[in-house]
Symmetry: C2
Subunit: 398 residues, 2 copies
Amino acid sequence: MAQSSARLLELIGKPVQDIDTPALVIDLDAMKRNLGRMADFAKKHQVRWRPHAKLHKSVLLAKMQIKAGAAGVCVQKTAEAEIMVAGGVHNVYLSNQVIAPEKLARVAALTQAVAPHGGQIAIAVDSAEGITRLAQAMTDARTSARIGAASAATVIDVFVEIDVGQGRCGVPPGEAAVALALEIRRHPALRFAGLQAYHGKAQHLRSALERRLATASALQAVDLTCQLLTAQGMTPGLVTGAGTGSFALEAASGLYGELQPGSFLFMDADYAQNERDPAQPLFEQALFVKTQVISLQASHAVCDAGHKSHAIDSGLPKVHAFDAKSGLDYFNGGDEHGILRSAEGSTRLPALGKMLWLIPGHCDPTVNLHDVMIGVSGGLRAGIVERLIKVDARGALT
Amino acid sequence: MAQSSARLLELIGKPVQDIDTPALVIDLDAMKRNLGRMADFAKKHQVRWRPHAKLHKSVLLAKMQIKAGAAGVCVQKTAEAEIMVAGGVHNVYLSNQVIAPEKLARVAALTQAVAPHGGQIAIAVDSAEGITRLAQAMTDARTSARIGAASAATVIDVFVEIDVGQGRCGVPPGEAAVALALEIRRHPALRFAGLQAYHGKAQHLRSALERRLATASALQAVDLTCQLLTAQGMTPGLVTGAGTGSFALEAASGLYGELQPGSFLFMDADYAQNERDPAQPLFEQALFVKTQVISLQASHAVCDAGHKSHAIDSGLPKVHAFDAKSGLDYFNGGDEHGILRSAEGSTRLPALGKMLWLIPGHCDPTVNLHDVMIGVSGGLRAGIVERLIKVDARGALT
């Protein structure tokens, strides 16, 4: 990692004040409360949860989630799956399309790797070509395994992805999904596990009513597809999907057996703008970028965190206020700078050298900019650095 | 690095077709032509150039630029400077504000580290407090060096940053800059080296005329400040600044002795939208994200590069067209996906598995997402992988 490891290790046990800037910091107390609330929710609603590890990309946090009751993790990339498995996370669902034969060979190798641990690899598909290629990779892996019945019988769980409103991957709900399920059934190394149905756009609709309406439409699509599958004798074992913005609705539907939210663990400025649905647990902001004022001018201050420190795809970060108002607004200052101006009704700019905390606009790609998350216990004001959490799969793109 | 190093090393000598996706790829031939054009320009206009290494964050490319005639490199972060110096780049200008005493101690240590190599560290300041802290760090470093005249006499070059229109760091042009120069002169370990004057906003104005007007205003501010400094017997040794969008104008001014462009080496979709000024050399696109179609639906295709593969702060990537038109437009598909739709007048979507090349919206933060740049010679269509170029300072934020 580019940051000096020695300098980072020296931080453990030190007060938060000593954290150099900019740095990605987790409020561990808040994170653990978020985790507990998610686990409680799943227990109460008798639904599996498989949090998305594309958020934190950390083996340690994946294991913490599994210990709290998660059924495993979702990932979005083959390389992420490899890193999770290598770290000892053996139930991994690649909730995405994989088409390259070289990557599918790696996926098939993972099914062999987790089998002795009683683990299971799952993957999503949305094309006949993808199924054919996956089956070929699984057959090749079984052949090259040649080491006994267990390996030769390894199967991969396959979810048919349907597009329930996201407009990205996934076949249309209905007959197209049935056709793919039938195709999966033709291959002995593939097990039709159910439906992948994630409505990404619904997550960020601001009003709870809009999210309810969008999710209701997704649920109809899922219901229809399940009925058609059942009519063909292929009732889906599981419908999996949902995100932090909507999962209480999918959970209540009776259709979804597994929830995939990731962001609930950290939260971000974008999710904070959602009107909370009464059915949804309350999650706290747990992820921050610590920054420092490096220039002070008459009209503004400049801090040392720009969009190489935090992603801005879902908007600029907010300045965290310990009290009601920070009095500061963050403006885009480029890759390495943030411009701070007094919010309306406030006239004070922070002093040169002043430490501030930013709430990133979007947690997932922000984490991906950092090698390490610095875990603080006891709060941001008077806490101490408890541990460093490596972003194991940072940059794991392939 | 998160990518499998072994898998990457195996690529060397292989055709571009073998590069797994998504991946950051440099067209080395185009990059070398860009480098040659910049070197020729500087020679012809008898101006120093010190390219900004915040673009590529690579020791290897920094050395290639110095070999081509660059006076050294600029960096934006103390950690970037450390990585450059550790890699053997001994003329480094930290063209940014540094306020934390711990960081200034590291900067002072770098002045000691490069001295035996005949190198020189420079830094920007925009506050009396910053100067006081820098002087203290330099004094401490000299004291702790205690190893002879050379180290004890080490100085750091200090540029006073003036705000010439960017509205970020820098004191106003004029008297405020003179006051800081006077302050610098009070400290024996600091050498007043001149002015840092970079007009970031001028770089991306679309018409050549707008850029000329904005730069003219910056030049007036520089000229005024130089005159005031001269009146105080402190004629600046050097005015340094300028970027890829405007440097021909600063070079022609007779005021700037050093140019800091970075992006010219790679270019990006944002700079490609600038109307080229006749005075500016022509640079080619040399940086690409290779991606692959992983899902094909009736209305769109989905590729495997989202904003964890390329920065979108300056807009979404463009689909590279080998011929006149690619016929494809890229739409935001989130962190790991891109949505491809047929451009107007075209009806064909690419096949599942099809490899495509994206031109990133903004090169600097795109590079910062990757551990490695894959250097290809012979072009993107039929070239081979010549070398891997490590992004040494990826994530070097502090």
